[in-house]
Symmetry: C2
Subunit: 420 residues, 2 copies
């Protein structure tokens, strides 16, 4: 089965917003085993949208349109789709009630007369309730072709797709699609790809696809099967093989679980606390750790120590260490981590000191040189990194490496490798 996406909106054509919906839909549909050969973007123009929709329906089984379902006269996706399918619009009482309820719930929005345009739906369309906005989703079917109309705002389209559209697409296919996400850290993208190349070459069902993220590699294992149990059975040998090859470098097999979630969970399990002492990342490691639910039980306080004096008086880094080795050094990173743990009475600490750029580099200590220290229960490990990006990329890479290091050190003190 083939799918294609049409994003409707002049704001995408003008570059006002990045088309993250297309990436979301593409990844989800790939996960459902649908093949996608085309994506397109058109503005709020009737003729061009009609032309684009007709062409898409001529070459793909399912066309997913996002955006252009709002209340203004610029919003024409529904009208154009109804025209292409030869359907009239009528006011759907259920949808009208849904919109009223939405306004009662959220209150802070004004009901304008044109809002009721969103209660108009094409004849014989499947109507999908929108729990996070006013425009419903719509499904039109004819002669084996399907058009799915979804609202544009990410906080509306994402839950609607997960809750209603994914199951709908799944039942269109003779077999269901099931997948697991194997998330790996502590090992580079090209290395992971080399290590699974043979599996990818000989794959049929399940399939394996790598996705690179900063500091992580995700492998999606996807099986076609008539039931979840059969899918599990099909995926089991591949999952076992991946665990055999990557071992505890796999930090989770759950779609929604992040590296910071896993770290916070390890700390919660062991009733350990953590702190951070940051120079060039200036609070971003703390910011990432505190993304995780439950972080407040393990993270009490942390330090941004940009100046040398701050490293001395907040963390107790020795004046001689800074004088002798400099702020960006293995020794300073070590004393920062140990000092932070001592000051915060924490069981673990991460320190980062480096030269993120663009200025501040020297021949001996070039831009991109970063030392990351990790203290866990009496032991400190410091690693030296050389990053090659711009300032913000170097800081982002430093944060990813800091979390990876912390997980590695925590694993050493935790008896068994715990996979969430």
């Amino acid at each position: 089965m083939t799918v294609e996406f049409i994003s409707v909106g002049t704001e995408i054509l003008l570059g006002n917003i990045v088309n993250t919906n297309a990436a979301f839909l593409a990844e989800k549909c790939a996960m459902l085993g649908l093949s996608c050969y085309h994506q397109s973007v058109v503005g709020d123009n009737e003729e061009r949208l009609e032309d684009t929709l007709r062409r898409a329906l001529s070459r793909s089984d399912v066309v997913i349109l996002s955006g252009g379902l709002g209340p203004t006269k610029d919003d024409i996706t529904k009208e154009v789709a109804a025209k292409v399918f030869g359907r009239k619009l009528y006011e759907d009482t259920h949808t009208k009630k849904q919109i009223q309820d939405y306004f009662c719930r959220t209150q802070n929005m004004q009901v304008t007369p044109n809002i009721w345009k969103q209660a108009l739906v094409p004849e014989e369309a499947k109507v999908i309730d929108n729990h996070n906005g006013t425009a419903p989703g719509l499904i039109l079917e004819e002669n084996g072709k399907t058009a799915i109309l979804l609202p544009g705002p990410p906080n509306e389209i994402i839950p609607m797709f997960e809750h209603d559209i994914a199951p709908y697409l799944n039942q269109l296919q003779p077999e269901g699609i099931y997948s697991k996400m194997v998330k790996i850290c502590s090992i580079g993208e090209s290395r992971v790809e080399t290590m699974v190349e043979d599996l990818i070459v000989k794959q049929t069902n399940p399939t394996l696809a790598p996705y690179a993220k900063t500091g992580e590699v995700h492998l999606r294992v996807t099986a076609k099967a008539s039931s979840e149990e059969e899918a599990e059975r099909l995926m089991a040998p591949v999952m076992e093989e991946l665990f055999r090859r990557f071992g505890d470098k796999i930090f989770t097999t759950e779609e929604e679980v992040t590296l910071e979630d896993v770290i916070i969970q390890m700390l919660l399990d062991k009733k350990m606390t953590v702190t951070t002492a940051e120079s060039c990342t200036g609070g971003l490691v703390a910011g990432r750790l505190l993304n995780a639910a439950g972080a407040s039980d393990v993270y009490k306080e942390g330090y941004v120590t940009y100046a040398n004096e701050a490293k001395e008086h907040l963390l107790g880094v020795k004046h001689e260490t800074l004088e002798t080795y400099g702020a960006v050094s293995e020794q300073t990173a070590r004393e920062m981590a140990e000092g932070a743990a001592r000051m915060a009475h924490a069981d673990a600490a991460i320190s980062v000191t480096g030269i993120a750029g663009p200025g501040g580099g020297t021949p001996e200590k070039p831009v991109g040189l970063v030392y990351i220290g990790c203290y866990v229960k009496g032991n400190t490990r410091v690693e030296e990194f050389h990053f090659h990006g711009n300032r913000s990329k170097n800081r982002e890479s430093s944060v990813a490496k800091a979390l990876t290091l912390l997980r590695e050190e925590l694993l050493k003190v935790i008896d068994e490798c715990r996979i969430m």
Copy 2:
């Protein structure tokens, strides 16, 4: 003149990467006064790419293709474009030399035999040197239609577009396009749009387009003119009018200057220092301030105080204050800001305490309630906010508001409003 974009790459169709190149090209071309009605994405498939390119050339004057110029056999953009334009490929000695030089410079990459495929260029094509990679940009012209082939990696396409493609597109047009970016904070998106609605309705040359960012609104003023001086003359009355309407809510008119850059510059000018005390944003305000060049001269240290005890012993927040009003309160935010300034011996301080969610909310203090305190030279102001996003959105909004508040308070102590 019309332009359209074709992004080539299976990784976009699979959702492995977000198509940020399309947004970049769209915004830049809009800025150059080109009209864009279509964007599309196709995989590394010869037939579909040829079909897409032919259709694009039939309806647009300029087609910009990105991606698929690499050395592997999957990279087919150049071959397909040469076929569509009826040109043969030949080895360009200049490009071969460029690739050799690139490898000498970067060293850390291996020269593989297939790399020389990138030195093949279509007959009569304009070749654009790539200073950040190996695949050159290519421009093909025929019968008033132009195809521009650019490499896919953002760190290659962005500098190549800025340096070579933008001037090329500009000279294709009878008049040049010049623009300024007016960046506004301290005032909401819909309010800004209402305030400039009359200017947008009656606009001809220059034009005005709003772009909403988290906590900021950007207005792009674009003029068509035969020279930069004429453009300045055309834009002057609009710029004056915008300054009359928005005054010091305009924080810069420079494309590349950020809110944190402006704040750090204000502090540098006044030889003032700043610190941060963060609870729910957990280091993200510090992280953003330290994005700016020169931050090390004004930011010495900062605090992440998640636990109540940390607020007490690091910032000197009174135990009774936390007991009586709670950690998320106007009073605590005030004492956090004042305490941070005192502890860091800083002239200014920002504090953030709130409930980012998803847990932790109560009927009295719901998720999204955030207090932001701002201390500047003896005066403290605290504002209460109610955000309605998820955890990460609430934290992002808090960071934006914190910077806005700091700028407002700094303006009060700075004699004249300084526009960078």
